[in-house]
């Protein structure tokens, strides 16, 4: 892979690029999905290719190919340069990159249990046991999934960087659906949208203990059929489970992407309310709100050693004591903002796509109260768990979320379950109303494996460190009727 990257970079330089980098990637993704007593999906997906990114005549060009022959590498490099030159006449200022020390390194992430040590038949057995336990509880649809991903990647640049990285990712989860007069009611373990996914080996499967949670998740799906509807009005809201991860993801993670702030997503995903003049000044949330971007967290789905510009993984502050203090950057956007260096957030969805600024692990740092204390301090509210639906405007201000389940709280105690609860708000007002964040005892990293961005579309796998948090006086129970 190293030699392939070197050849591509040399060819790009020879074709006239003032800067070039190449990423060669070997990717393997194994997935098992079971449903109602059968293996529904059992797949082993592989691809391999190389992408070349260049600056020529002051503009970017990028091309990807699966043809790794010498002729193929020369052709893809030349194509990237041609694309850059086609773009150049519209650009008044040439691309400038913040400095980055060229690194030569090799990083092989070791899993405690390599997925290859656990045969597919054993993975199927685990899920089939869960399937039986869920259906014994009487759910209509029992689903389980286990995935393993292995990515071997080499990065090289005309600046002299040469970095090899190997990583393993594991994902697993259960989903139970009951269907009745109240419609389809779904419960997931340990979280919705694919369960938990981490940059770890199959030791994660042992920790998740899917069979130990199968009956419980199915029982909740059944109970939801008889649960009340979510009340409408304003009350306190506690976010727990994966829902807090998605709240951070949509209302903080995306608006701090500096390419988005500078408008490059304006026609598609949108821009951001966190404009540069607000950096260091704007009150994003209450003093309880402390948010970091941390690509160095062990096992986080948004963790890595080097990003796709060869910049080392970093931890940086995004919101400190409620004040907005930092962005996610690339080398280009860091230079645009006047920063000396990037904080290393450029990642691409495989070899065929251009790196974009993506979330790493965006974390709500733990607070000081226990979850029990937060519930106990709530006079009237709802605790919502695990996302069902999400929507937010194109500057990331007005959001509306739906969850799988809510727990009604009265006088500090949980008094009942509600189905498909929803809530809505405006980002800085919502975070300003955060008056409690749970402590380290329940803090964990939740993987989000389906983050979409860019054109052509790219999917990133990112993480969020979360516990639970309370927000005062939030509008809940938003439906199609007033």
């Amino acid at each position: 892979m190293e030699r392939l990257c070197e050849k591509a970079v040399e060819a790009a330089g020879g074709a006239g690029a003032s800067y070039a980098d190449a990423r060669c990637i070997d990717h393997r993704h194994e997935r098992i999905g079971t449903k109602n007593g059968a293996t529904e999906v059992l797949s082993d997906e592989r691809d391999r290719g190389l992408g070349v990114r260049v600056i020529a005549d002051g503009s970017w060009g990028f091309a990807g190919t699966a043809d790794l022959s010498d002729a193929g590498l020369r052709a893809v490099a030349r194509r990237a340069v041609d694309l850059a030159r086609a773009a150049a006449p519209t650009r008044e200022e040439p691309v400038q990159l913040a400095d980055a020390e060229p690194v030569i390194d090799s990083v092989v992430a070791k899993a405690e249990i390599d997925p290859d040590e656990v045969p597919a038949s054993e993975r199927v057995e685990i899920l089939m046991e869960c399937d039986r336990l869920m259906r014994d509880e009487g759910v209509d649809i029992a689903e389980g999934y286990i995935s393993a991903r292995r990515i071997n990647k080499h990065f090289a640049s005309t600046e002299g960087a040469s970095i090899y990285q190997e990583r393993v990712e594991t994902g697993a989860g259960l989903q139970a659906t009951s269907i009745g007069e109240a419609g389809a009611q779904r419960r997931s373990y340990p979280s919705s949208h694919g369960g938990q996914v981490m940059a770890r080996g199959f030791e994660l499967l042992d920790e998740l203990d899917l069979p130990g949670h199968a009956a419980g998740v199915a029982a909740e799906a059944r109970q939801l059929l008889d649960a009340d509807e979510c009340p409408s009005g304003r009350m306190d809201l506690i976010l727990a489970g994966g829902q807090l991860a998605l709240q951070i993801h949509e209302s903080c993670g995306h608006p701090i992407e500096l390419d988005r702030v500078f408008g490059t997503e304006a026609a598609y995903a949108g821009t951001s309310f966190l404009t540069p003049e607000r950096l260091g000044e704007f009150r994003y949330g209450s003093e309880k709100v402390n948010i970091t971007a941390d690509a160095t967290l062990e096992g986080g789905l948004g963790s890595f050693a080097y990003d796709d510009e060869g910049v080392p993984a970093q931890r940086s502050w995004i919101v400190r004591d409620g004040i907005f203090v930092g962005y996610l950057t690339s080398r280009e956007t860091a230079a645009q903002l006047g920063l000396e260096s990037s904080n290393g957030c450029m990642r691409a969805d495989g070899w065929a796509r251009l790196p974009l600024i993506r979330m790493t692990n965006i974390n709500l740092e733990p607070g000081s109260e226990t979850v029990e204390e937060i519930i106990g301090g709530t006079e009237r509210g709802i605790m919502m768990e695990d996302n069902l639906s999400w929507s937010i405007d194109d500057r990331r201000l007005n959001f509306q979320f739906g969850c799988e389940l809510g727990w009604l709280i009265e006088d500090g105690e949980i008094v009942g379950m509600v189905r498909k609860p929803t809530y809505t708000g405006i980002t800085p007002q919502f975070w300003a109303a955060c008056d409690a964040v749970a402590d380290e005892a329940t803090w964990r990293i939740q993987g989000v494996a389906n983050c979409g961005k860019g054109e052509p579309g790219q999917i990133a796998r990112v993480g969020h460190g979360i516990s639970a948090a309370r927000f005062r006086d939030v509008e809940v129970g938003v439906g199609a009727d007033e």
């Binding site: 990807g64 773009a87 408008g263 490059t264 304006a266 251009l354 937010i392 500057r395």
Partner: protein, 446 residues
């Protein structure tokens, strides 16, 4: 078109047939896709991204009785395909039996031959950059900022199985979409087509610039129920979510659809007809699905009454129906979905629809729509890039963006007028609609 493809029909079929001949499974299926795509992206009045990729995708499904394994590769060499076949076969041997597995489809009618457009295959990076430059020029002339993307692609798809199915299609896609921004407003325009020569950059740019200008200085507007004229992009978004949540055979069979058990019932206004037609030339056509089954035209709603849902082989077996040729790739567990939706146009001009509205809103498009409750087809989303107040039958200026939360079938029960001229927005073609009492549930700050 064939000369523009990465892979010709004969070569593709030879790869598929070699894999079938080498297989020891009871049943084997090969999907082979080849694609070359380019995209030129612009923002802040310059091209900031210019990319191209070529790739292959081979998907092999092997079955021993009702145990199924799937493997993929992008290596189309003999070794690469044989390795994928071996991996699929090994997985099939350890899969648990699936009593609902329908078997691979047998050969039936031959799919309608489809070819792409040479004009699209020839629409290279220089042409894409030229389209972007035209948009940027118009924006600069108006003191606005242009952002958008121009993309073109050619692709080929072969499907072969051990029962004798052999299918081949070539297709092309072209698209130019843009948002022009001013100090406090924005405007959108887009064109999706198979034939790149249908894309008129200057006309689209003028539309986006006009919307941006007319929606400047937006006024607040209180949420609640009000009449709306939805332009085609907004309607297409809504019916796309209705299609994927309600009219797929799997969601229908499992009781997760808003129309489960309700075929033949009146579910919306009798002026509504919704069809999935993969061969309608107004859309992005497909001749067959990922099982090689020819795509059929399906009347989903006629006169407000549900007619049918779409099927692949699996859901056809479950519902004792025949496949309509809507299978997704075999590694997908989503089930079949309608991908070529058409909402039947009416007879109204846009001016008439605005003129018939005393007080309401004109909406260009929605943003980040999502299903709040798929089993009731309740949708939420934001307006974006051009929302206007209508007063006394006339457009009276821009308003701040709003959030809607609506049950789609109920909204389609309150359609008073349907436009006669529609547009394609990716997977759905739709005319504009005048809908009474549309539910806006919130507002934002711009």
């Amino acid at each position: 078109m064939s000369e523009a493809m990465l892979l010709g029909r004969d070569e593709a079929m030879a790869i598929c047939e070699r894999a079938l001949a080498a297989s020891r499974a009871d049943e084997t299926e090969v999907n082979l896709l080849a694609a070359a795509e380019g995209l030129t992206r612009f923002a802040d009045n310059h091209i900031h991204q210019n990319v191209a990729e070529t790739n292959y995708h081979v998907i092999i499904r092997a079955a021993f009785e009702n145990q199924v394994g799937i493997a993929t590769t992008n290596d189309i060499s003999s070794d690469g395909v044989e390795d994928a076949l071996r991996r699929a076969t090994v997985l099939a041997e350890v899969a648990s039996p699936d009593e609902r597995y329908p078997g691979l489809p047998a050969p039936g009618e031959q799919p309608t031959p489809l070819n792409g457009f040479t004009a699209t295959a020839e629409f290279d990076a220089a042409r894409r950059a030229q389209a972007a430059r035209i948009c940027i020029k118009v924006a600069k002339e108006r003191g606005q900022s242009a952002a958008g993307a121009c993309s073109t692609g050619v692709s080929a798809h072969a499907v072969a199985n051990s029962l004798g199915v052999l299918a081949w299609q070539e297709s092309t896609r072209a698209n130019l979409r843009m948002v022009f921004s001013g100090d406090d407003s924005s405007g959108y325009a887009a064109k999706y087509a198979e034939d790149a020569s249908e894309i008129q950059p200057r006309a689209l740019a003028e539309t986006a610039a006009g919307k941006c200008k007319r929606s400047a200085n937006p006024k607040p507007f209180d949420p609640g129920r009000c009449d709306v004229v939805l332009e085609p992009a907004a309607v297409a978004d809504m019916i796309w979510f209705l299609g994927i949540s309600a009219f797929g055979g799997l969601a229908y069979h499992e009781g997760r659809s808003a129309i489960s058990g309700r075929l033949g019932e009146q579910v919306c206004g009798d002026n509504i007809a919704l069809i999935d037609d993969p061969l309608d030339p107004r859309g992005l056509r497909r001749a067959f699905d990922f099982e090689g089954v020819p795509c059929s035209r399906v009347e989903l709603i006629a006169d407000g009454v549900t007619g049918a849902v779409v099927h692949d082989s699996r859901t056809a077996k479950l519902e004792d129906a025949r496949s309509t040729g809507h299978a997704l790739p075999p590694s997908s567990s989503h089930g079949p979905v309608p991908m070529n939706l058409f909402l039947r146009p009416g007879g109204a001009a846009m001016d008439e629809m605005v003129g018939a509205t005393d007080r309401g809103l004109l909406v260009t498009r929605f943003h980040y729509t999502n299903l709040v409750d798929p089993s009731a087809a309740v949708l939420t989303g934001m307006t974006r890039d051009g929302i206007f107040l209508i007063e006394n039958g006339e457009v009276a200026g821009g308003v701040r963006n709003l959030r809607f939360t609506e049950a789609i079938l109920e909204a389609l029960s309150r359609v008073e007028m349907i436009g006669r001229e529609g547009r394609l927005a990716s997977y759905a073609w739709a005319p504009p609609l005048l809908i009474r009492d549309f539910h806006f549930s919130g507002t934002t700050e711009f």
